[in-house]
């Protein structure tokens, strides 16, 4: 089966099926290339300014009480 024979059928597909087909093909290609799917979490607590303020208050308190460590 050649691309020329398949294309008219693909073009006739509903929009959502075209997206589905694209996803399927991309997944298949990435697997062939050895690229793994999955989530890659970023653990940085960015923009956690309230947390930072709370830790700074804790440090101040620690300084007042004197180093215990």
């Amino acid at each position: 089966m050649s691309l020329t024979t398949v294309l008219p059928s693909v073009r006739a597909l509903p929009r959502k099926d075209k997206f589905r087909l694209m996803q399927e093909l991309l997944t298949e290609l990435s697997q062939e290339e050895g690229l793994e799917e999955g989530e890659y979490p970023i653990w940085s607590p960015y923009d956690a300014h309230e947390a930072a303020a709370a830790l700074m208050m804790l440090l101040e308190q620690d300084k007042k009480e004197g180093a215990t460590a």
Binding site: S44, P45, A48, A51, L59
Partner: protein
């Protein structure tokens, strides 16, 4: 003037070569008599220092006894965290007090973030040389 200490980037996955080099800083954490050696990731994007659960346990902290609740963001937002203060030595420098958000997870690295690691130390990255420099702040 204090001379900076230079450290190599650490290759955490040799199969990925250059892509897996990370600025991991060797440090010694202590609380009273309890001492733990660890590597902290220099994370200038992190608002706070983060301590994995098991390291806190090794230092003798008991979760239920910690009263300062810390609300984190990003992927850590779903985890509870407590504020704790430790003594940290980055050789060859003197000990400093570092405050950590101690999380209830071990699925996170020891992170050295803005509050308060980057308030205590200046850091220069020389990524092309796979090295970084750390200098304590001038008092």
């Amino acid at each position: 003037m204090i001379e900076p200490a230079r450290f190599p980037f650490v290759d955490v996955d040799p199969s990925l070569a250059e892509s897996s080099l990370m600025p991991l800083l060797p440090l010694t954490l202590s609380k009273g008599e309890m001492v733990v050696s660890a590597y902290g990731l220099l994370d200038s994007g992190a608002a706070v220092n983060v301590l994995p659960y098991s390291l806190g346990e090794q230092l003798g902290f008991v979760w239920e006894e910690q009263r300062t609740s810390i609300v984190l963001s990003g992927n850590l937002a779903r985890l509870s965290a407590r504020g704790i203060v430790l003594s940290a030595i980055i050789a060859p420098f003197s000990a400093v007090r570092l405050a950590f958000a101690w999380t209830q997870s071990d699925n996170v690295r020891l992170l050295l973030g803005q509050a308060n690691f980057f308030m205590e130390f200046d850091v220069c990255f020389f990524r092309s040389q796979s090295q970084f420099e750390v200098t304590p702040k001038e008092l």
